[in-house]
C-alpha cells in the first residue's frame, strides 16, 4: 500500500520524445486508469513505474522511497501483462509461486499464499495444469494470481483485458474491481478503451503524445473536459464539434446563434455538445434549451430503447442520441428542429483547444 509520485519525468527512446515533463500523484489505495490512444505514452509511463524502462530524467517515488534507479525486483510492484506472460513450461501453481520462490520464501508460506490467491480467483482446480491448456480468461487469472501472491505495494496492469472477447472483458472488469476493493492496494491500469477507463477508475488520467491532458474523477472528465482532445476522446458516440466564433459573448456559426452571456475577447471557438445532450424541443424544459436549430436527418440507427441519429447541420456532420419515444417525429432525409441542453455545452478556444466554458 503506497502512493506513487512521478516528478517531471522525461523519457526518450533514441530521438523520440515519448514522455514529456510528466508529473503525477497517484493516491494510496486508488484505482487510477491511464488512458489514451496508441502511442500516447501510457504504457511507457507504466513501465517506468515498474522499472522495466529507465527514465531519461525525473524522479519516481513509491511510498517514501525513491525508486528511480531501482530494478523492478526491488520496487515491490507487481505487473499483469497484456499477453499474460506466463512461464510456459511451468504448471500454474509454480507460475503463481515464481516470485515467492525467487525471494526464497519458505515452502509452507508459499503453499498458503498460492492457495489463497487461487481461491480468490476461482482457479484452484487449475493449479496442476500448464498454461497452454488454459483459456485466455483462465490464463489472465493466473497472471493476476501471480501478482496478488506477492503482496506488493502497487499493482500495475498493462491492458490486461484487450486480448479477451467482449463479454469476458466486461465480466473481468467487475472481478478486477472487486479484487481491488478486497486487497485495498494501489492500482495503476493502462487501457486505450475509454469505456473501460470510465467504468473502472476512481481517477482517470488522459494522455496524449506523452503529456497528461487531464486528471480527475470520471464524472469530472466526462462533464468538464479541459480541452478538445479529452472532450473528443471520452464518450461514445463522440462529442459533436461545431466551429464558429464567439462574438459579444454569443456563439455564432452558420445558421446557428446561441446567446451565452460570456465575457472576453471575440475569437474563433469550437462548440462541443454530446449526442445525448441534443434533444427534440418537446423533450427539454424551456429554460435549459438553446434556440432551435435546424438540421437534416440522415439515418436512424435504432439500438433498442434509443437511436443514434447522424445529422447534417449546414455542412457539418453531427450525431444525436434520441430516445425511441420521439423517433416518430423524425423522418430520414427531412429537416427537423432540435435544441441543445444549455447546461451541457462546452466551449473551446479554437487555437489552444482549452476550455472556456
Amino acid at each position: 500500500m503506497a502512493d506513487i509520485r512521478l516528478d517531471h519525468i522525461e523519457k526518450y527512446f533514441g530521438d523520440v520524445h515519448v514522455v514529456k515533463d510528466l508529473s503525477l500523484h497517484i493516491q494510496d489505495g486508488s484505482f487510477t486508469v491511464l488512458v489514451g490512444p496508441s502511442g500516447c505514452g501510457k504504457t511507457t509511463t507504466l513501465r517506468l513505474i515498474a522499472g522495466l524502462e529507465t527514465v531519461t530524467s525525473g524522479k519516481i517515488f513509491i511510498g517514501d522511497q525513491e525508486v528511480t534507479s531501482l530494478e523492478p525486483k526491488d520496487r515491490n510492484v507487481a505487473m499483469v501483462f497484456q499477453n499474460y506472460a506466463l512461464y510456459p513450461h511451468m504448471k500454474v501453481s509454480d507460475n503463481i509461486a515464481f516470485g515467492l520462490m525467487a525471494r526464497k520464501v519458505e515452502q509452507a508460506e508459499i503453499q498458503r499464499r498460492v492457495q489463497r490467491a487461487a481461491a480468490m480467483l476461482g482457479i484452484e482446480n487449475l493449479l496442476e495444469r500448464k498454461p497452454k491448456q488454459l483459456s485466455g480468461g483462465q490464463q489472465q487469472r493466473v497472471a493476476i494470481g501471480r501478482a496478488i501472491v506477492r503482496n506488493p505495494n502497487v499493482f500495475l496492469f498493462d491492458e490486461p483485458l484487450s486480448n479477451l472477447d467482449a463479454k469476458l472483458r466486461v465480466e473481468m472488469r467487475t472481478e478486477l474491481l472487486k479484487l481491488h476493493r478486497e486487497l485495498k492496494a494501489t492500482a495503476v491500469y493502462v487501457t486505450h478503451d475509454q469505456e473501460e477507463a470510465m467504468t473502472m477508475g476512481d481517477q482517470i488520467v488522459v494522455m496524449e503524445s506523452g503529456v497528461i491532458q487531464q486528471q480527475g474523477a470520471p464524472r469530472e472528465i466526462y462533464f468538464h473536459p479541459r480541452n478538445l482532445f479529452v472532450a473528443g476522446f471520452i464518450g461514445s458516440p463522440a462529442m459533436n464539434m461545431i466551429d464558429g466564433r464567439l462574438e459579444n459573448g454569443d456563439f455564432i456559426s452558420t445558421h446557428v446563434r446561441i446567446p451565452m452571456g460570456l465575457s472576453g475577447p471575440d475569437r474563433e471557438v469550437v462548440l462541443g455538445v454530446r449526442p445525448e445532450d441534443i434533444h427534440l424541443p418537446q423533450a427539454l424544459r424551456q429554460e435549459r434549451a438553446t434556440p432551435p436549430i435546424t438540421a437534416q436527418v440522415e439515418v436512424i440507427e435504432l439500438l433498442g430503447s434509443r437511436a443514434i441519429v447522424p445529422l447534417r447541420l449546414s455542412n457539418q456532420a453531427m450525431k444525436a442520441v434520441i430516445d425511441e419515444r420521439f423517433l416518430n417525429q423524425l423522418t430520414e432525409g427531412e429537416s427537423v428542429q432540435l435544441v441543445f441542453d444549455r447546461e451541457r455545452l462546452h466551449l473551446f478556444d479554437a487555437d489552444s483547444g482549452e476550455r472556456i466554458a
Partner: protein, 277 residues
C-alpha cells in the same frame, strides 16, 4: 540515489563485454598470426619471437606465380561448382516436393538429413574401390561424386525452409493461367526462392571447398584440390611454412568474406531447421 545497484549492473555489463572481447581476440589471433607468417621472410619463420620485421611478399609471389597452387585452386573451384550445380538441379525439385506435398512424411525427410550425417569413413572404402576399378581415380568426376553424397542432402534440407515460405496461391494462380504443374514450379516458384538458391549454392560450395578427407584419397597428382595441397605442406621446414601460410590464406579468405554475407540466411536454414523442425 541508490548507487550500489547501478554499479553491480554496470559491472555485469562490462564483465560481459570483457568476455566477448577476449573471445574476439581468441578468434582473431590465429588469423593475424597466419597473415603475418605469410609475410615473414623465410629466414625468420622459424623464430617465434621475432615480430618486428619488414614484410616481404616473396612467399605470395612464389605461391601464386611459381607453384602449382593456382592449379589446385582451380580444381577446387571446378569440383565445387560442378557439385553445386548438380546438387541444385537434383535437390530443388525434391525440396519443393517435400515442402509442398510433404512427400514421404517425416521419415523420408529425416533420412535425407541422416545421409549428411554419415561419417565419410563409411563411403570412402567403396567409393575408392569403385573408382579404382572404373579407373576413375584422380579425376574430378570421382571427387564430385563423393561430394554429392553430403552436399545434396544438405542443400535439399536447406531449401525446404525457403520453399515453405512461398504462398501456395502463387502456383495455383499460374496453373489457372495455363501452366502445367512443372511449369508453375519452374517459372514461378523457383524465381521466388532465388535468394534461397543462392544461399544454398554458396553453402554447398563451401562444404565442397572445405573437404579434405575425400579429396585426399580420391584425388591426387594434378587433380588435387586446395585442402589436399595445404596438407601437403605437412613436413615443416622453415622454407615451407611461409608458403603454407599463403596457401591457407588463399583457402580461407574467400570463405570468410562469403560467410559475412551469408550469415542471416544461415540462421534461417540451419538454426531454423534445427530449432523448429
Amino acid at each position: 540515489m541508490n548507487g550500489t545497484r547501478y554499479w553491480r549492473r554496470a559491472l555485469g555489463d562490462w564483465g560481459g563485454t570483457l568476455i566477448l572481447v577476449i573471445a574476439l581476440i581468441v578468434v582473431l589471433f590465429p588469423y593475424t598470426w597466419i597473415f603475418l607468417t605469410s609475410l615473414k621472410p623465410t629466414a625468420l619463420v622459424a623464430k617465434p619471437d621475432v615480430w618486428l620485421f619488414s614484410p616481404t611478399w616473396e612467399n605470395w609471389r612464389e605461391v601464386l606465380l611459381e607453384s602449382d597452387v593456382p592449379r589446385y585452386l582451380l580444381n577446387s573451384v571446378i569440383v565445387g561448382l560442378s557439385t553445386v550445380l548438380i546438387a541444385l538441379t537434383v535437390a530443388a525439385p525434391a525440396s519443393y516436393s517435400f515442402s509442398r506435398f510433404k512427400t514421404g512424411g517425416g521419415p523420408v525427410r529425416f533420412s535425407i538429413l541422416a545421409a549428411e550425417m554419415l561419417p565419410p569413413a563409411v563411403l570412402i572404402v567403396p567409393l575408392f574401390l569403385l573408382m579404382f576399378n572404373l579407373e576413375l581415380l584422380d579425376t574430378h568426376l570421382a571427387l564430385i561424386a563423393a561430394h554429392l553424397t553430403f552436399v545434396t542432402p544438405v542443400i535439399t534440407w536447406f531449401l525446404i525452409g525457403f520453399f515453405d515460405e512461398v504462398p501456395k496461391e502463387l502456383e495455383e494462380q499460374a496453373m489457372v493461367d495455363g501452366y502445367t504443374q512443372f511449369q508453375a514450379f519452374y517459372k514461378v516458384v523457383l524465381p521466388t526462392v532465388r535468394p534461397g538458391l543462392a544461399a544454398a549454392a554458396i553453402f554447398g560450395f563451401v562444404l565442397s571447398w572445405n573437404d579434405m578427407f575425400y579429396a585426399l584419397i580420391l584425388s591426387g597428382g594434378n587433380n588435387k584440390t586446395l585442402p589436399v595441397a595445404i596438407a601437403g605442406f605437412w613436413t615443416f621446414r622453415g622454407i615451407e611454412m611461409g608458403k603454407m601460410a599463403v596457401a591457407i590464406l588463399i583457402a580461407i579468405v574467400p570463405v570468410l568474406i562469403v560467410s559475412f554475407f551469408i550469415q542471416k540466411y544461415l540462421v534461417k536454414g540451419l538454426g531454423g531447421g534445427a530449432v523448429k523442425y
